[in-house]
Symmetry: D2
Subunit: 328 residues, 4 copies
C-alpha cells in the first residue's frame, strides 16, 4: 500500500485525490495546500489528514508525493520531495523556465528517486489504443502526424498572463504527444501564430490560434493545430499517416443519440472540457505511476519528457515571435 501526500487542493488536485483514493494499491494519507481551508474541505470527504506541504514532505510515513500546486512551485517541490526520499508525480509543466527545469532534472536524478511528469493524455483510452496500434505496426512506418487541440473557450486573461504563453501552457501537451508518437524530438520547429479569438490575449502578448510544423531528422513531419476557441466543445484529435495506412483518434461525445429530421442528422458534441474528456486518463495515469513505483520499473513519463516538451515549447515561442524556423 502506497501512502500518498497530495500537494495542492485546487481543481486538478481534486481530480488526483479521487484517483488516489479509488486505487486499491494507494492510500491518500495527507493533503497540503498553501490555502489550508482548501486542503481541509477536500480531506474531510476522503478521510485524509491535513498538513502543510513542508510537513508532508518531511513526514517519514509518506511514500509518494503528488504535486498539483501552481506551476512556479513545481521545480522546488520536486527537488524537496525527491531529496526527502519520496517518489513523485508532478503535474505538467516542470517549470516555465527551461534552464530551471534542467537544473531540477539534475537534482532529482541525484536523489535517485523516481519522478513522473503528468502528461495525462498518454493515458487517455483512445490515445493509448492509438499508440498500441502504431507500435503493433498496423500502419507501417509513421510519416505525417497531425494533432488537433482546440479548447472550448479561452481562459481568463489573468491566467494567460502567468501561463508562459500558448506554447508552454497548451501546446506543451501536444509536444509531448508528438514525441511519444514520433519517438523523438523534432529537428526544426516552425510556428505560425495569431490573435483571432480574444483581443485581450493579444494585448497580453500571447497568441490564441497557432499552427506548429515540426520536421524530424529522417524527413517525417508533424503538424499541431491549436485554438483557444471551439464553439462545439473540447476538440482533441490525432491523425497519423503511415506507409501502410492511417490511424485516427477522435473525441468523446456527450452521448450517442442521433436525431434525423428534414434539417439533417444531428449528433452530440464532444464533451465540454478536459476534466470530462480526460477523467479516465487521470485514473490510468495514477495506476501506471503506482505500478512503476511498486515494481521498480521505469517511470512511464520522465523528467526528460517534461524537459523535452518544454524545450520544443520555447522553440515554438521563439519561432512565432520571429517568423523564423528554429532548429533544436
Amino acid at each position: 500500500m502506497l501512502n500518498v501526500g497530495l500537494l495542492g487542493a485546487g481543481r486538478i488536485g481534486r481530480v488526483h485525490a479521487v484517483a488516489v483514493s479509488g486505487h486499491v494499491g494507494s492510500r491518500l494519507a495527507a493533503i497540503g495546500d498553501v490555502h489550508a481551508p482548501a486542503a481541509e474541505a477536500l480531506a474531510e470527504g476522503l478521510g485524509a489528514e491535513v498538513n502543510t506541504p513542508e510537513g508532508i514532505i518531511a513526514d517519514k510515513s509518506i511514500d509518494a508525493v503528488l504535486i498539483a500546486t501552481s506551476t512556479d512551485t513545481h521545480s522546488d517541490l520536486i527537488e524537496a520531495a525527491t531529496k526527502a526520499g519520496k517518489a513523485v508525480l508532478c503535474e505538467k509543466p516542470v517549470d516555465l523556465s527551461l534552464e530551471r527545469a534542467l537544473e531540477c532534472r539534475e537534482n532529482a536524478a541525484a536523489s535517485g528517486q523516481p519522478v513522473m511528469v503528468g502528461f495525462n493524455r498518454r493515458f487517455d483510452p483512445s490515445f493509448s489504443a492509438f499508440k498500441a496500434k502504431l507500435d503493433a505496426g498496423k500502419i507501417g512506418k509513421a510519416e505525417l502526424l497531425t494533432i488537433t487541440s482546440f479548447d472550448p473557450a479561452p481562459p481568463p486573461t489573468d491566467y494567460i498572463k502567468g501561463s508562459g504563453g500558448l506554447f508552454r501552457d497548451m501546446t506543451i501537451h501536444d509536444f509531448d504527444m508528438a514525441k511519444w508518437l514520433m519517438g523523438r524530438v523534432p529537428e526544426t520547429v516552425t510556428a505560425m501564430a495569431s490573435n483571432l479569438v480574444d483581443p485581450e490575449i493579444g494585448a497580453a502578448g500571447d497568441f490564441d490560434t497557432a499552427v506548429v510544423t515540426m520536421t524530424y531528422a529522417d524527413g517525417r513531419i508533424a503538424v499541431i493545430k491549436n485554438s483557444r476557441r471551439a464553439a462545439f466543445g473540447y476538440d482533441q484529435r490525432i491523425e497519423l499517416l503511415g506507409s501502410e495506412g492511417m490511424l485516427q483518434a477522435g473525441n468523446q461525445l456527450e452521448n450517442s443519440v442521433m436525431t434525423s429530421t428534414r434539417d439533417g442528422v444531428t449528433g452530440a458534441k464532444p464533451v465540454l472540457f478536459f476534466l470530462e474528456r480526460y477523467m479516465p486518463a487521470y485514473g490510468a495515469e495514477w495506476a501506471a505511476f503506482v505500478e512503476a513505483v511498486e515494481g521498480g520499473g521505469p517511470m512511464p513519463v520522465t523528467l526528460d519528457d517534461g524537459v523535452d516538451a518544454l524545450a520544443v515549447a520555447e522553440a515554438a515561442t521563439r519561432s512565432a515571435q520571429t517568423g523564423e524556423t528554429v532548429r533544436l
Copy 2:
C-alpha cells in the same frame, strides 16, 4: 450487341433507357408507350426509334425487351415477348394476382426464353457488398435479419388505390431482399399494420406503417419495418446478426459535410428517394441482365423470385387483415 426495345416511357422507363444507352453491349433500338408522345420525347434524345409495344414485340431485329409499363400489363407483355423469342427484363411486381403470376411463369417457361424480374435493390453497391460479405462467411451463420424501408412521403391516394396495397407495392422489395439474404422463403408471416401517416390511405383500405415478422423452418427470424413517411428522406437499411458478427448496410447521404456548433454535430440526410439512391443499381441490374443473356447463364433474378415475393406479400396482407400468423 443486344438490340433492345423499351416498353413504357414513364419515369422508371426513362431510368432504364439511360442504363441501356450507357451500356457498351446494348443498343436502345426502339421505345413504345401506349401514350406515343412520351415515347417520342424520350426516343429523340437517345437516337431510338418509336414503335407501338406490339410492333416492338413483333420486330425480329429486337433481341430483348425491357418492360417498364403499368403493373397490370406485366404478365401479358412477358408472355407475348417470350413467345416472340425475346429475352425479357420486367419491372416488379410480376402481377398483383399471385394466380396470374404463376400462370405467366408457366407460359414464360414454356417459351424457353430468359426472364429477369427487376428487383433492382439486389444491385445496389452497398447491398451487393453486404451479400458478398455474408456469402464469404464474415458473420458466420445468418440468424436475425432486419430490413428498414421507409419512404420519404406517401404517394397520392390514387396511386395507393391501384397499388395492390402496402405489402404488394412497397414491402415486395423487402420480401425479395429477405429471400435473397436468408436463401429461402419463410415458413410463417405475421404482419402488424396501421394507418398512422395519412387518413386517406386508411380510407382507401390500405396501411402506411407496418412490421412484418417472418420465421424460417430452421428457426431463423426476419423483421421488416415499413413506413410511408420519413421526414428526413429515403431510409433503406439492412442489418443481419450472425453467429460470428453483424452486417449493416446504411443509406447514401446527400454529401459528407459535418457542421459542428454549440447545437451539436450535424451531417447530411439520406438522398431523397429511390431514383437518387438506386440509380447505380439500375445500371448494375442492366449490366447483369446483358451478361446473363449474352453468356447464356442463369438470370440473376428469376420469375420464381418474382412469384415468391408476391406469395409472401399476399400472406402478409392476409395476416395484417386478420391479425393471424399465416403459414406459407
Copy 3:
C-alpha cells in the same frame, strides 16, 4: 444524509455499493448478505458495517434499503423493508411471478413507503438524452419503436434455469424501455422465439433469439429484437420513427480509434457488457432515488412499472410458446 443498508454483496451489489458511497448525499452504513464473507469483503474497503439482512431492516438508523439479492427474495424483502419504514430501491425484476408481484405492490403501497424498481437503463446518458429529445417534440409523434438488445454471450445454463426465461430475464428491460418511451403498455404482444445460439438453452426449455412485436391501442407499433449472442460485444440500441423525424441511440465504444488500411476502415467494438456500458447509469439511478426520497417527490421508476414489465414478459412468454398473439 441518507443512511443506506445494502442487501446483497454479489456482482450487482458491488456496483450499487460504489454508487452509494460516491454520492454526496448518502452514506453506505451497512451491508448484509446470506453469505456473510461476501458482505465482509465488500464492507471493509468502503467503511461500512456488516449485519444480517434482517438486522439491517430492523435497524432504526437505516433510512433506505437497496435490495440486490437473488430474484426470489425481492418481494419478501420489499415487503419487510417498507413495513419497517424504509425507502427501497430494488433490483429488477420484482418477482418471477406476476401474482406475487401484484401482492407485493399492494403491501408496499399499504406501508406508504416509497419503492423504486432498478430499471437502470432509463438512466443511461444516451437513453435519457433520447427521451428528453422525444419529450421535447424533436420527432413529432412517436410511431414505430425498435429496441435492439443483444448480449455478448449466453449465460451458464444453470443461470438460465432459474431466470424465468428470456422474456422475464432479459427482455424485461426492453419492455420497460418500451413503456417509458411509448408512454403506456401495449395492447397486443406477439413473440417469435428460437433456439439458435446454444442447444443447452433449448434443452432447458428456453429461447435465445427472439423478436417481440407489440401494438398499441392507437395503432403505434414497437419491435424488440433479442439475442443471447453478439460476437462483437454488448449491443444496446434504440430507434424511434416519429411523424417529424427519427431518434437513434447507439452503443458506447471501447475507444474512438479508426484504422484505415487497404482492408477498410476499422473502429472499436461496443464495450463488452452491461457493467461497462451502464456504470454511469447506476450512478445516475442512485442519484435520482436519493433526490426523490429526500424531496418527497414521486419515484422515477415505480412498482407499477415493475409489474407492467412483468405482465408483458408473461404475455410474450405465452405468445412464444403458443404461436398466438396475446392481448393484454
Copy 4:
C-alpha cells in the same frame, strides 16, 4: 445548344467527353488529338466527328473548346481558341511557368472571350455544400483551414519529371481550394517537404510528402497536408474552424456496409482515385461552364484563379527548397 470541340482524347478527355454528351444544353461536335486514333476511338461511341486541334479551333460552327491536352500546350491553345472567338474550359494548370500563364491571361483578356480553368473540386457535391454553409455563416468567421489531400499511390517517375513538381501538380488544387474558401491569396507560404514514399521521386528532384502553412494578412492560417501515398485510397478532406463552429467535408466511401466482429467494426475505404471521387464534380463543372457561357455571366473559375494558384505553387516550391518562408 452549345457546339463543343474537345481537344485531347486521353483519360481526362474521356471524362469530359461524357460530361459534354450528357448535358442537355451542349453537343460534343468534334474531338481532336495529336494522336488521331485516340480521338477516333472516343468519337465513335459518342457520335462526334474527328478533326485536328487546329481544325477544331478554325471551325466556325464550334462555339466552345474544352482543352484537355498535355499541360505544355494549355497556354497556346487558350490563346488560339480565344483569338478564334471560342469560349474555353481548360484543364488545370494554366501553365507550369507563372510568367507564361500571366501572358496567356493577358492575351485571353484581350480577346474578350470567357475562359474557365478546370478546378473541378469546387464542384464536388460535398465541397460545394461546405462552401455554401460557410457562406451562409454557419460557423461564423473562418479562422483555421486544413486541407488533407493524399493520393493512393505515387505516379510513374516519368510523369513526375514533367509535372512541375508536387506543388504545381498536386497541391495546386489545394491552393485553389484555399483561395476559394479563405477568399484571397495568402501573405506568406511556408512549405516543409520530404521524400518518404518513393526514392525515385527524390532522385527526380521532387517531394512526395509535404505540409504547407499559409498565413493571411488578417491573421488567419491555412494548412495543406499532402502525400503521394495513402494505402487505404484517395483521401480528400477539408476542415475549417470558425469563430462559431467547424465545418468538415469527408471522403466518398466505396459502400455503406459495416461489419462488426470480435476484431472491431469495419467499414469501406474511400473510393480509389480522382475519377471515381470527382466524377459528379466533372459533370457539375461542365454544367456551370455552359450556364455561364449561355447566360453571359462571370466564369465560376477564372484565369485569375489559375494564375493565383500557380503563384502560390511557385512560392511553396521555393520555400521547400530553401527552408525559408516566402512572402507573396
